[in-house]
Symmetry: D3
Amino acid sequence: MRLSCALLFAGGLLAQPAPLTVQAPAHSIPPYIADKLSPADRILFGRLMRVGLEAAWSAVTSEGFPLCFINELTPLNTDRRLVGRARTVRYLPNRKDLREKLYAASPQLNYRSAEEALPGDVLVFDAGGERHSTVSGAMVTTRFVVRGGAGILVDGCMRDVPDLAAMPISVYLRCGHASSVSPLMMSADYQVPVRIGTVTVAPGDLLVGERHGVLVIPAAIVDKVLDKALEHDEQEQFQRKLLLQGEPVYGVYPTLNESNKKKFEEFKKKNY
Amino acid sequence: MRLSCALLFAGGLLAQPAPLTVQAPAHSIPPYIADKLSPADRILFGRLMRVGLEAAWSAVTSEGFPLCFINELTPLNTDRRLVGRARTVRYLPNRKDLREKLYAASPQLNYRSAEEALPGDVLVFDAGGERHSTVSGAMVTTRFVVRGGAGILVDGCMRDVPDLAAMPISVYLRCGHASSVSPLMMSADYQVPVRIGTVTVAPGDLLVGERHGVLVIPAAIVDKVLDKALEHDEQEQFQRKLLLQGEPVYGVYPTLNESNKKKFEEFKKKNY
Amino acid sequence: MRLSCALLFAGGLLAQPAPLTVQAPAHSIPPYIADKLSPADRILFGRLMRVGLEAAWSAVTSEGFPLCFINELTPLNTDRRLVGRARTVRYLPNRKDLREKLYAASPQLNYRSAEEALPGDVLVFDAGGERHSTVSGAMVTTRFVVRGGAGILVDGCMRDVPDLAAMPISVYLRCGHASSVSPLMMSADYQVPVRIGTVTVAPGDLLVGERHGVLVIPAAIVDKVLDKALEHDEQEQFQRKLLLQGEPVYGVYPTLNESNKKKFEEFKKKNY
Amino acid sequence: MRLSCALLFAGGLLAQPAPLTVQAPAHSIPPYIADKLSPADRILFGRLMRVGLEAAWSAVTSEGFPLCFINELTPLNTDRRLVGRARTVRYLPNRKDLREKLYAASPQLNYRSAEEALPGDVLVFDAGGERHSTVSGAMVTTRFVVRGGAGILVDGCMRDVPDLAAMPISVYLRCGHASSVSPLMMSADYQVPVRIGTVTVAPGDLLVGERHGVLVIPAAIVDKVLDKALEHDEQEQFQRKLLLQGEPVYGVYPTLNESNKKKFEEFKKKNY
Amino acid sequence: MRLSCALLFAGGLLAQPAPLTVQAPAHSIPPYIADKLSPADRILFGRLMRVGLEAAWSAVTSEGFPLCFINELTPLNTDRRLVGRARTVRYLPNRKDLREKLYAASPQLNYRSAEEALPGDVLVFDAGGERHSTVSGAMVTTRFVVRGGAGILVDGCMRDVPDLAAMPISVYLRCGHASSVSPLMMSADYQVPVRIGTVTVAPGDLLVGERHGVLVIPAAIVDKVLDKALEHDEQEQFQRKLLLQGEPVYGVYPTLNESNKKKFEEFKKKNY
Amino acid sequence: MRLSCALLFAGGLLAQPAPLTVQAPAHSIPPYIADKLSPADRILFGRLMRVGLEAAWSAVTSEGFPLCFINELTPLNTDRRLVGRARTVRYLPNRKDLREKLYAASPQLNYRSAEEALPGDVLVFDAGGERHSTVSGAMVTTRFVVRGGAGILVDGCMRDVPDLAAMPISVYLRCGHASSVSPLMMSADYQVPVRIGTVTVAPGDLLVGERHGVLVIPAAIVDKVLDKALEHDEQEQFQRKLLLQGEPVYGVYPTLNESNKKKFEEFKKKNY
């Protein structure tokens, strides 16, 4: 939970002309998505928008999932938070015989995934790190955004990058290119577990991304993770307040000493 | 051709409080260049400022030039479009004997290329990917800008990077450094074909760059490429409009179905 | 020394509607640091904020220190200048036996370095380029900022990256991650010479960073370096003025011809 | 077709004390595999042992499969030729929830693939380039060799590397490691198309490897490829003979001039 | 423990003309080292020469040291086993001021480490991955070999590589170069913990290397590790025997089923 | 100068059962080249075959050419010494328009360079590090070898690698591939200075290569370099002898103390 007033107050105590900023601005669900979410998802996504990424990482890791953070991709916009649910596609280097079979059986999977996307979905394209052939572009992504799509993760590259950057979604990729998907790549599998960087993403996973990476949370543990992490965040807000008041790090962080623990109990009472 | 009004209109149809942005802002030739261009170049550069990079890539590729896109360099400013004509320089690792001969025969080529640059030129420095010695800096680039220089591409690095980023030109490079060109590098060849990333750039090529890379168009095909690509863009504007109105991707993109083709014909009539 | 008026004036001479910008904005010491510096440091830091990075590089190199520029790290904010004094920490891959001894003898060194930091200090963490385990985060950095810390250099990664980017300090790193320091890394040595990229940084070195890298200046030569470099910068301002007035690069840069040398002497008289 | 006698003869014509060696020694199917192959496979594998890798690459490419050569892996033994049929396994970064499901449904796939391997099979493990966790080792490979396994391709690493190098099979990998497969990786899919370097390998593909890489031939075109390539090889033997006799490359390679074409017709008659 | 007779026997059972080789040849301490070792070290080094690298890795990892395997370096000779005790040196990028102090206080550390080396020592040079400046060469290594030096690990490069490869020691490095150590590097610390690849090596650690990497064993746990691993190896020899006799992998590896466990008990009785 | 007898003698003094080998075997000009060299070249190449690579590097560097060593390529055979004279070719990424002009004006340059090669020449192909398209193969290299070609350096890749490795020449490359030169590359310039790794190679340069890299010696300084380096080598042989006799490194290497200097003078008298 964020208490930005506490920061301003703390600043005042230090008698500085301007309070020190030590925390990034808070995020909220973009309206074009929020309007389309189910009530349950609106609550879930709201909590995911608020949770500390590091606290959530600790909670996911301590649940037995240490390989949960993707930091190999680059976000197009550094000031957004990605929150959404994974819908996965696996690409392979192009091959005439397989491509013919695959594309006869189903539309190309970037079309299909955009068309079937639910509000809040994140398309996760495993393109094996390919840097010379794109998996999708602005036109299909426009359809995806109209349907309430929240983001795109590509272990590979995309075209129309300036258009993608202007859209309200969050996009992470290796790099951009102006090519079409062929002749180097083809979409092969839909809604299977895929590899992005050093992490496996499964359909339905919850994703939370900031400028330094994307956390992958299996759906089965997301509530537990959020409970733990948000509680941890509350303590960090208190610790931040103490530090801004000029207290030394010892006794404050990472664990509060006895005296500060008491103050924290009072702090919690006041704030609820 | 861009029809940004159509987007706002489409947004209105969807009855959203704010229309969805799905396209990057349009670009125009910077005034300090435009003023100095010949009338023919002003028209050509204007079309290059407007064309879709991806449509142009398809046209260049289908003319028999698939190795035409440089995505290995990083632009200093992500919100500009580079448009210009290539003026090339090839650098080599420094060598006393060759350097003496070369520099006796001609001024160092970053000076000479800036001094001889025509309005709208892009200096293309092939420095073999070097990351510890720069090829040029803010002083010589000031002269280049005064002459109407449009951009710089370096497969290597440059110094004075904050100054370069503040100038109105577009600069792409591997990274920056504070060093001078010596003792590691020397300029060796002027106005010869050079390698930038995985692409050959020849003197006189037209270059179009966005944040995800630079398209290289041989001068002999630039008009044909622009005709094809701008026509394609017009259809994409119509397709984008349909998608924003909520139509599914099938039947709209990449090819219009019969019913939408008819609508497109009417759309074209209305817009001219 | 910067003479931004000269640039506007030059622009006027060229009779352009808007003067050409060819120089990045000037920097000054952030107030939260300036207030805490000793008078001597306030003068020193002021000169370091003003000096041209490239001129200073030349001066440091000509003093016999050619390995002085770090361009392997990425700054979180591209529009700031880092100025500060190095306080170093060396990390090693985690090892139970050594960790137990080290952490029994002293607090973890990211805590200790933040707690002992003097105003204007830059924490320099040599983490061997590690990309999957962080060395520090927003909480300890808050303490560091409260104490007047000026910046952080990490040959490795940090957590809480959006918070760090919102703080008034300058941070350079390989990438971000959401992990804690364990289980992959441990802090091992404090205030010893460390390796960052291809440069050795020693405790007490003065650091000056821009978006393209960080210059390392041994304390013993910093005054000599500044004298030389600031004098060089003054000449560059004059050269820039001539170039903006439309003079060719030959005779102006890198060395002034006889006629321009005389003009420079007059220019210097006028400006003092 | 190889005519090593022709080379010795050519050497004699040049009146050198020792003939020039310009061709690698011929290969044959290792006895432990040959004994177990079906008669049809013995013929097929024999032709694959003999065919020029470059001629076969041209034939595969001209059939519409340009992405057919893997040169990102390193062979443990540089003097062997790999010939075999692909049996594929896909690995993913480990994940507790998926691993439990997968391993409940089927034995770990390196065990299963070794146990189900047919004579002449090549295990193809797509481990996404992982360098810190192995997919298999000497014990399971012993079982694989006993069953007539011909080779292993790993886009990742293996353990027990000295033992693997001592076995009669051909092994290609990124590097070695002493770890077990867990805790970083898990086997996920069996006999599906996989990515190795920049190539898709499908179950049943024929593989031919030398020290510089592995050619992937879809089963449906292998006979056509071999017919074309072996005929091309015969001409290359003749061309090599001419070159060893001292003829200039023009008129001999890549295409024979009229006079040499006639000689080639005679040469073919003599040799059959 | 190795039972190579068992392999030949197994081969015989399969009625093959030649037995299958599935295991690398055994190693022993080179005589020029063995003669100089203390009796205790001769026993210890003998066990380290015999132990399975993978079994030892498991034992070290399960003792709480998972970061124990270096696979980033390349051995000059692929058919040797490195066994020895770490003597460490840390290099840093050259810096005139520090170098003068360091070299005034002690001889350059590659001289000193060679001169002080005890029989069976392995010089471990942490040069931060440097590829353009060497840390040592054949002359100083000759002195090291005369003193009974067992090997060299360099996270960097060495000169005189063909001479080093001809010596009886084991050398692992990033690459070679013909340069001297200056002007790019300097030796800075002696007998401190250093980083090689992703592993910390401390003075006194026991090192065991094969062609795929080097295992680092803290001295305090080496006996426990060897006990566990050699017992595991004995079972693997039995498992290998079963597999060579044609038994399926299930029930044999990784764990013996009940029936095979009984056979193993008998096997152990017979062999002692 | 090599004195291998001294080594055996030294070994005898140490009373070891087998003398320590501390030096790679000597090299000589392969007969198929030696027969074709001019008398002057036979002397020059003989000295280059004998000189210490590191001593020659020091001499070249002290003549003002520090960027003279290529260690980015891999030799196909690690036990050979390359000696020869550079004949250079520059490749560029393929481009239809330029290719047509280039190939109309001259045969493809790998044909031409092989056909025009003089005995002892080394073909130096600058292919910009390309890894997916080869510049030449076994057929053209056969012609090159017949003409007395000594070696090939490719900053890129070649086909027919096993055949090349079986030939008596020395080949260095990035990697191999089975492709032809098109469609990705084209030869563009002949006998111009080229970049290989971080070194400029000019036509006529003398090249000396071992398994760890290739030294580039401008022709104008080769005699001076050899005089200096061979004299240095003679002293190293004496130093090696002392070290093998058990003398400490101090007083012997890198500089002889007074007493050892006298012994060296006597040693030189005895050996001439």
